[in-house]
Amino acid sequence: MNTLLALLAATFFIFPDGASGTELPSGDEIARRINERDEGLAVSRQVTMEMTEASGKTRIRETQGFRKYYGKEKRTMIFYQSPRSIRGTAFLTYDYPEPEHDDDQWLYLPALRKVRRISAADRGDYFLGTDFTYEDIKLETRVSLKDYHRNTVGESEADGVHCLLLENLPVSQEIAEELGYSKVLQCVDDRIWMVRRAQMWDLKGQPLKTIHFRDIRQVQGIWTPHLIEVVNHKTGHRTRFRFANVDYQAGVEDRIFTQNALKRGWRR
């Protein structure tokens, strides 16, 4: 019904001349364009994670992150720098493209002085106490092709920018339960093919989260959001990721993604 209304609204208000000739791109087309956008082979960046509870209490954690693609395999390293009590803690993750291949994850706790391997989290699990799930983090600014059926349901605006509304419905109940979403509605900037806003609904169809991708600027020719904000509508908890010193050309070395590097830590 909402879809229908959105379509009607689109027809009447956005194309007042009845210019029905300009058809909106299909959902799959939008997804393809998003995933074709350059994300850089590797990136190094400072990420400030700011988590705020419904009561207003906030935890701020400064990290240094690295990410690099090895074909379709993705490796990520996060070094915590503050607060002091968790300084030096580091997580290393290998994401494999094959769904049956569980991801590998190691961590280093400096107070324990040991690298431990930890079992892979589920895709729908929350990521390091934030409101993002592992799947949200894994996709970054991309979209999953195989998990959803997609439809273009209209046009809208996000932060004053025109965008196409892309509705994603999980292909099966099983996938929905895995992801924790029954629907995802994205607002896609069709100028640079980047999601600017994503809304998620839980398995009972109640509003769950809204993610905003903000402060989008080109860094070394690559469109990069410098602020990602997410609010959980059920708990009132919110998370902000602020990115600084984003660098796609620094030459992220392979040895960063090793257990030795975990232990050694990262020094500027």
């Binding site: 935890r59 607060p83 009590s85 968790i86 997580f91 107070a111 391997r117 708990t235």
Partner: protein, 789 residues
């Protein structure tokens, strides 16, 4: 109070002059109060019994808010078979229930906890595994056995999620909206009935979330049963007393006005309908008819004696005779309720007595104004209960056999009463203050049974929380603070009926073990604050951001330690709370860390203790006010003292029974006394007033006593029957507290009635107090006190 017949007579002539207008206004007021009723709302929370300003309640609410502690619904699965709940079928059932509960409205699927949702955290040689206990329910018993071994090796869940002997497990569901508890509870009961149970398995729905819902259902079913039942009984009593239509209907009119205005005013002032408010209409029905029973008794007796009198003059003569005793008894009853209003700690009780007081006032107003207006309007129609030749009917004559007993053995009667007073005093000293809130429910209710199951197989349903505060962010992680909390837990768990506890300490130990290859000896606290902080970061690796809300705040500055008790008795909680408080004061609290007791257990013991403390005060206030009122009314301190005697005997007799039979001084038994005083004293006042009137008119004391029984005695008998049966109706309530309350008041009223009918005339006969003759009041006080001592 010197009677002024001229004024009273003029007043009632004026009333009967405007009969039609008054009758009409009488109806208008009833309609107005009825129109207010839809505004009434229910408050079924247990917390409603506690004043909102109570410090222990405020601290409990603060702890709840800080740690997001809601009252969840709980389904307990018990399997008494050899493998307990670790069979393929029981684990399948856990998974099935978890799935089905998640689908229910008003349940957040993310906040449903069971063996099917929880992860096992284990240490391996190279690291740590966080995996669900099972993805799919096991098919073979050997798989179920493996799950059992894992769960039994996970201390955090033992006693809380899984019975320590493996015979039971819980599915815990948090509500999104606590106000919908009643519906969710019902849905869970339905689910439990349709669950595919195997032999040996049973399901029980419980949890404090269920209690409020339950209470709501209780109120509804009580109200639809008790009130009509009480009204029918009262109507039958009136029929028996007067055997006329007006004798049946006029008292009911007063009942409507009284109960309607009291409840209507509650609605108008936004006072909620509490669980015990259900007793209010029933109490008011009993009180409201009492006045009209006395008026109609006099009316019919006069009609029998003066068949020639016209309607209006008969009415006026009746009212001139009766306005005084009715006013006196209304004043003393109101004084009794005022005492309770002033002294009670429970808001529902405070409002109960306040609006009962208003109801008594309305009953008095209607009895003095609307009843005469009606009687003057209606054509004269004698009652077959009263005839000129034989005086009254069998009831009056039956009571009259008391006259020779009182006249012949007055001193024996006084001695018996004295004996009751002494025994009662001894009994009262043995009374023990105690309460168990689950007693509110019928022992056959599923909720009561479920509570028993939870307290038997699991750590228990009674929570004592301890709020720990440290000055700065992450101070909780300091090893000295963690060790202090660990020692506190160890100490409190040695106290009787404390079965288990959970705190940040338990999670840190679990993580420490997991990161040390799962070695049992590594189940201990980390020795560095940073390590504790890093463990919690590690926990967050796959936990939702608010997963540890219930044990620590976001800054790791405040912590909650929750202890579980398997016994809800005040006597048990009191021991635990007092011992824990002493430990906190002497060993725990110091600069840098501070702990306060919180939680339901602490709240309960605080207000029940206050309930006990204020019980005797409220009774003293009620007694004092009633004595003052009676003394003023008769203009004699001795009269006031004598009016009090039957209620004092009554209360001490009930204390004796309680003390010797080991009945607790509890919610119900603290409620009864003040009400028994206010109502019981009416019998004394009617008795003394009648004797005084007759003696002052020249009767000898013996003649006055003989005259007492067929006239006032008969009216009092029906007054007593109306009250006793009215309160007796409460014993059919679904709320056990109300049952006990109703029974106690009914017994108290019976005792007051009997004492008034025997002890008072005996005292008058023996001591001949001068207030009876009205000659020299002052002299009589000194002489009677002298004789009494």
């Amino acid at each position: 109070m010197q009677n002024n017949p001229g004024l009273a007579e003029r007043f009632f002539w004026a009333i009967t002059e405007r009969s039609r207008a008054i009758v009409f206004m009488g109806f208008v007021l009833i309609v107005i109060s009825a129109s207010l009723l839809p505004g009434l709302h229910k408050d079924t929370r247990l917390d409603a019994f506690i004043p909102a300003s109570d410090p222990s309640l405020q601290l409990r609410n603060r702890t709840r808010k800080l740690f997001g502690l809601e009252d969840p619904m709980v389904i307990a699965l018990v399997n008494e078979g050899r493998h307990g709940v670790f069979t393929p079928h029981s684990l399948f059932l856990v998974e099935w229930l978890t799935r089905e509960i998640s689908k229910l409205p008003n349940i957040d699927p993310d906040r449903v906890t069971s063996l099917a949702t929880e992860n096992n955290i284990t240490g391996t040689e190279e690291g740590m595994e966080v995996v669900p206990f099972f993805d799919q329910p096991p098919v073979h018993q050997s798989d179920a056995d493996r799950i059992r071994r894992q769960v039994m090796d996970f201390p955090l869940y033992l006693g809380s999620l899984v019975a320590k002997d493996g015979k039971g497990t819980l599915i815990v569901a948090e509500l999104q909206d606590q106000k919908q508890a009643q519906q969710v509870y019902q849905a869970l009961l339905d689910l439990a009935t349709r669950a595919p149970l195997a032999p040996g398995e049973s399901l029980h729905v419980a949890g404090e979330g269920a209690v409020a819902g339950y209470m709501g259902a209780y109120i509804d079913s009580d109200a639809t049963r008790l009130d009509p039942f009480a009204a029918i009984i009262i109507t039958l009593i009136c029929l028996l007393a007067f055997r006329t239509l007006r004798g049946m209907l006029l008292p009911n009119l007063i009942v409507l006005a009284t109960a309607g205005s009291a409840i209507g005013l509650m609605a108008a002032f936004g006072i909620p309908f509490f669980v015990i408010t259900n007793a209010l209409p029933v109490v008011l029905i009993g009180i409201a008819v009492a006045d009209s029973i006395h008026i109609l008794s006099e009316y019919y007796q006069r009609m029998a004696e003066h068949p020639e009198a016209d309607s209006r003059s008969l009415t006026v003569a009746t009212m001139v005779e009766m306005w005084r005793p009715i006013t006196l008894t209304s004043l003393t009853t109101m004084a009794g309720f005022l005492g309770l209003t002033l002294a009670s700690v429970m808001p529902p009780m405070k409002f109960f007595s306040l609006f009962a007081l208003l109801g008594v006032f309305v009953a008095w107003l209607y009895s003095l104004i609307v009843i005469p207006a009606w009687l003057a309007l209606l054509r004269l129609k004698p009652s077959r209960a009263y005839t000129r030749s034989r005086g009254t009917d069998g009831f009056g004559r039956g009571l009259s056999w008391l006259a020779p007993v009182v006249i012949r053995f007055p001193k024996t009667l006084i001695l018996i009463s004295l004996g009751i007073l002494i025994v009662g005093g001894i009994g009262a000293s043995k009374i023990e203050l105690n309460e168990n809130l689950i007693r509110t429910f019928d022992p056959e209710e599923p909720l009561f049974i479920a509570d028993g199951v939870l307290n038997r197989w699991f750590d228990g349903t009674h929570y004592l929380d301890i709020l720990i505060e440290t000055p700065a962010t992450e101070d909780l992680f300091k090893p000295e603070n963690l060790k202090r909390i660990e020692a506190l837990q160890a100490f409190v768990q040695t106290l009787p009926h404390v079965q288990g506890s959970t705190s940040i300490v338990d999670y840190l130990k679990q993580m420490n073990r997991a990161l040390h290859e799962g070695q049992r000896q590594a189940y201990r606290l980390p020795e560095e604050a940073n390590l504790a902080a890093q463990y919690f970061l590690l926990y967050s690796a796959s936990a939702s951001p608010d997963d540890f809300n219930d044990i620590a705040d976001y800054d790791y500055r405040l912590a909650n330690v929750r202890f579980r008790l398997n016994d809800g008795r005040y006597s048990v909680s009191k021991n635990v709370v007092e011992a824990t408080q002493k430990y906190l004061d002497q060993q725990f609290n110091q600069p840098g860390i501070h702990a306060d007791l919180s939680g339901r257990v602490n709240v309960d013991i605080h207000w029940i203790r206050r309930l006990g403390d204020t019980h005797f005060i409220s009774m003293a206030i009620s007694l004092g006010l009633v004595w003052l009122m009676a003394s003023l009314s008769f203009r004699s301190l001795v009269a006031g003292f004598m009016a009090m005697l039957p209620v004092v005997v009554t209360i001490l007799m009930i204390y004796a029974v309680m003390g010797f039979k080991g009945i607790w001084l509890s919610i119900s038994t603290t409620m009864f006394a003040a009400i028994a005083i206010g109502l019981g004293v009416d019998f004394s006042i009617h008795t003394l007033e009648r004797l005084q009137t007759r003696i002052r008119r020249g009767d000898s004391i013996d003649a006055a006593i003989r005259n007492l029984y067929p006239s006032t005695g008969r009216a009092l008998l029906f007054n007593f029957a109306a009250l006793a049966l009215g309160f007796g109706v409460l014993s059919t309530s679904k709320v056990v507290v109300l049952q006990e309350f109703g029974m106690l008041v009914a017994v108290a009223i019976a005792t007051s009635f009997l004492t008034s009918m025997t002890l008072l005339p005996a005292l008058i006969k023996v001591f001949r107090p001068s207030f009876m003759t009205g000659k020299n009041t002052r002299l009589s006080i000194t002489s009677t006190i002298g004789e009494a001592s």
